[in-house]
């Protein structure tokens, strides 16, 4: 009982051979078939072939370095090109064209990986090795008050970063979470939701310095020019944080299945309680990790703080009065405008950078741990 539609041939004419729906022309369908399986087999390069090719490349590079005065980078490039070419040509000869193309792409992808890892590893290595110079107790407990050259520390900057980022978090998390709740639970597809979704997208793309300028402009309009206080930085960072929080919470809320909410309504629980008691706890792990990641993102931002909070040399813990030092801005000034002796300033800058990396990495790892810890338990 075939599903194909039968096309009746005109009366009296036999159906054309090999073209009826029931019987294809197997001649065409075996035309390109290899005569035997062995025919489509090919030899393989030995398993040590990639290693041999790399060795060859290294040899060529070393030879070039020894014999000519070519720069190291050029010698390495030449060696790499030779290695890849040899490998691909050998593969083509032994294994055939398709395998050779595959080998070639594998080589390219591997080289891309190594090439990219070099600068990235260099960044981390440089920060760690140069940052250890001032990784001492004084750095964590002293500010720059009264220090002209060597000595002092970043205590004021560390505290400033914690305060400014902390206030930004306190502002951003409620606003971001409630906006996400609006979008997912109340807004549906209405006009406000679509506009807000679009605008949140736009917000994710705001350059950080523009966020800083916005805060500056806001406070200038309200309080006049020249004001530089901690909370201005927090507002600037909030502009950057809110869209991240909204996106993360929104995604988590959408993952919570509708039937969970429905069973709660069926029990007579009002909507707002359902959200607070059922939906949010289910999404908690994703929300928490999303928030932590947002904090990590803004903690290292320099530009918005540069234009709002400025820099101070002594410790100021009041976000509503006076300039505040923050770690990234502190680091920037130390390295961009070193005094005498310059090395002391540069050292302080690198240690601040190292500290920033450590904070950010800890937060990122912490976010993952948090996500696992708060996830609904299955065991």
């Amino acid at each position: 009982m075939a599903q194909s539609t039968q096309q009746g041939s005109p009366a009296g004419e036999p159906p054309e051979p090999g073209t009826s729906p029931e019987k294809p022309d197997f001649g065409t369908l075996t035309k390109f078939q290899p005569a035997s399986l062995a025919d489509s087999m090919h030899d393989s390069l030995p398993r040590w072939a990639p290693l041999a090719a790399t060795g060859l490349g290294a040899l060529v590079a070393a030879a070039l370095l020894a014999v000519t005065d070519l720069h190291v980078a050029l010698a390495v490039i030449a060696g790499t090109v030779v290695a890849i070419a040899a490998f691909t040509i050998a593969s083509r000869a032994v294994e055939g064209e398709r395998a050779a193309t595959d080998r070639f792409v594998t080589s390219l992808v591997t080289v891309a990986f190594v090439l990219a890892m070099l600068p990235l590893v260099s960044v981390v290595w440089t920060t760690v090795s140069r940052g250890l110079a001032r990784f001492d107790y004084a750095f964590f407990t002293q500010s720059q008050a009264g220090i002209i050259g060597e000595g002092g520390g970043a205590y004021h900057a560390i505290m400033g970063t914690l305060i400014v980022t902390g206030i930004a978090t306190i502002i951003s998390v409620p606003i971001g979470t409630m906006t996400a709740i609006y979008l997912v639970e109340y807004g549906g597809d209405n006009k406000l939701s679509r506009v807000v979704t679009f605008l949140v997208d736009v917000m994710t793309g705001i350059p950080s310095i523009v966020a800083g300028l916005f805060s500056l402009a806001l406070f200038t309009l309200l309080f006049g020019p020249g004001l530089r206080i901690g909370i201005m930085g927090s507002i600037a960072l909030s502009v950057l944080m809110i869209p991240i929080v909204v996106r993360a919470v929104e995604e988590m809320l959408r993952i919570v299945p509708a039937r969970l909410r429905e069973s709660s309504y069926a029990l007579g629980v009002p909507k707002w309680r359902t959200i607070v008691k059922v939906v949010l706890p289910t999404a908690a792990s994703g929300i928490a990790s999303g928030v932590v990641i947002a904090v990590a993102r803004v903690m290292g931002e320099t530009a918005p703080l540069l234009v709002t909070v400025g820099l101070a040399t002594s410790t100021n813990l009041n976000p509503f009065e006076g300039r505040m030092a923050t770690l990234p801005v502190f680091a920037y000034y130390q390295i961009a405008f070193p005094g005498i002796p310059p090395q002391a300033f540069i050292d302080r800058a690198w240690t601040s950078a190292l500290l920033l990396i450590l904070f950010v990495m800890t937060l990122n790892v912490g976010a993952r741990v948090l996500a696992k810890a708060l996830a609904p338990k299955t065991r």
Binding site: H71, A73, R98, D102, T106, V109, A112, A116, M117, P119, L120, S122, V123, V124, T126, T127, T179, I181, Y182, E185, Y186, L199, V200, V202, T204, G205, I206, P207, S208, I209, A211, F214, L216, A217, L221, V239, I242, V246, R254, A258, E262, Y265, P270, K271, W272, T274, V276, A296, G300, T302, A303, L306, P328, Y332, A336, I346, A353, L356, V360, N364
Partner: protein, 311 residues
């Protein structure tokens, strides 16, 4: 996407708890609206003096447009070079981790790239200034000697290495991890079904990637690249630290006369700026906002079109 309507909120009487809660939620959403409008309006307000001032009062003496143009040029040039370098390499890394590296390694490598994506941009600026720019000087000399007939490498090569090319490459290194991390996630989500379909046809690994992974991941890679582009356009500190600013519009990538970027100019000039000078800088910020807005918008349209219809 429909919201689940609670039977208790569709009636005429609503509990006070619901009213307060939904009111707060709505208020938050409206606040976003207000904030965005605020950004635009406040920037406009503060930039206004610069927009209306006579040409000779603006920095450089030739009016706002001619002041901003080299900055815009610098912003676009560095971003374009950064993208051209970063995107292919980032996709390569992503493919390597998702489809080439041995299983045991790939998770660890993935974590490493994710963490690198979190490194604050100012650290890249430090590295660019103190390590990278210096190491590039021999390359600039070589470029001038061998390819100096091209306008890009006409030289004379900078002795400090603090050139537009260096800044662009630092940006490339900076946006590499984020583009790679997002691309990798997309590649890992390629449906097993299509990968196996390709393999069962007798495809080699690269052929399988061509047939199943790349078509599936194309729009994701574009989104990731656009995110990287946004970062590159708006990056302030890395460029401010690395670039030695002294020039105007020029395609010469290796000499020491370089235009600044919009963001770097703001950061570098800001501490001393007051009054009209400050307004000019804010006008630059407004322009930067517009550029990133357009790029963002264009990217979303591109991705929507790739996916064929509404997202």
């Amino acid at each position: 996407m429909s919201t689940t309507r609670s039977p208790l909120t569709t009636g005429r009487r609503r509990r006070p708890g619901d009213k307060v809660f939904s009111g707060t939620a709505t208020a938050s959403a409206v606040l976003i609206l207000v904030v965005l409008a605020g950004v635009g309006l406040f920037l406009l307000a503060e930039a206004f003096p610069a927009l209306t001032a006579p040409a000779e009062d603006i920095e450089g003496g030739e009016g706002l447009v001619l002041y901003l143009w080299p900055l815009l040029f610098g912003t676009l040039l560095t971003a374009v070079i950064a993208m051209v370098v970063a995107v292919p390499i980032a996709v390569g890394i992503a493919l390597f981790i998702s489809h080439y590296a041995p299983r045991r390694l790939s998770q660890g490598l993935g974590y490493a790239v994710d963490l690198l994506a979190a490194v604050p941009s100012i650290v890249y600026g430090f590295w660019g200034l103190q390590v990278f720019s210096v190491s590039l000087v021999p390359m600039y000399v070589w470029l001038e000697d061998n390819l100096g007939f091209l306008p890009f490498f006409a030289g004379p090569a900078s002795a400090t290495g603090r050139t537009i090319l260096t800044a662009s490459l630092v940006l490339a290194v900076m946006i590499l991890p984020i583009i790679s991390a997002l691309s990798r996630e997309v590649f890992l989500q390629t449906p097993r079904l299509h990968e196996e379909a390709a393999m069962a046809l007798g495809a080699t690994r690269w052929e399988m990637i061509k047939y199943a992974v790349i078509p599936y991941g194309r729009s994701g890679v574009i989104s990731a690249s656009m995110l990287g582009l946004g970062r590159a356009l708006g990056e302030t500190m890395a460029v401010a630290l690395v670039l030695s600013v002294s020039g105007g519009v020029s395609f010469n990538l290796i000499n020491s006369g370089n235009p600044a970027t919009l963001a770097a100019e703001i950061a570098l000039q800001f501490p001393e700026a007051t009054g009209l000078r400050l307004s000019t800088l804010i006008a630059a910020g407004l322009l930067l906002f517009l550029v990133t807005f357009v790029v963002n918008f264009g990217a979303r349209a591109l991705v929507t079109r790739q996916k064929g219809g509404s997202l």
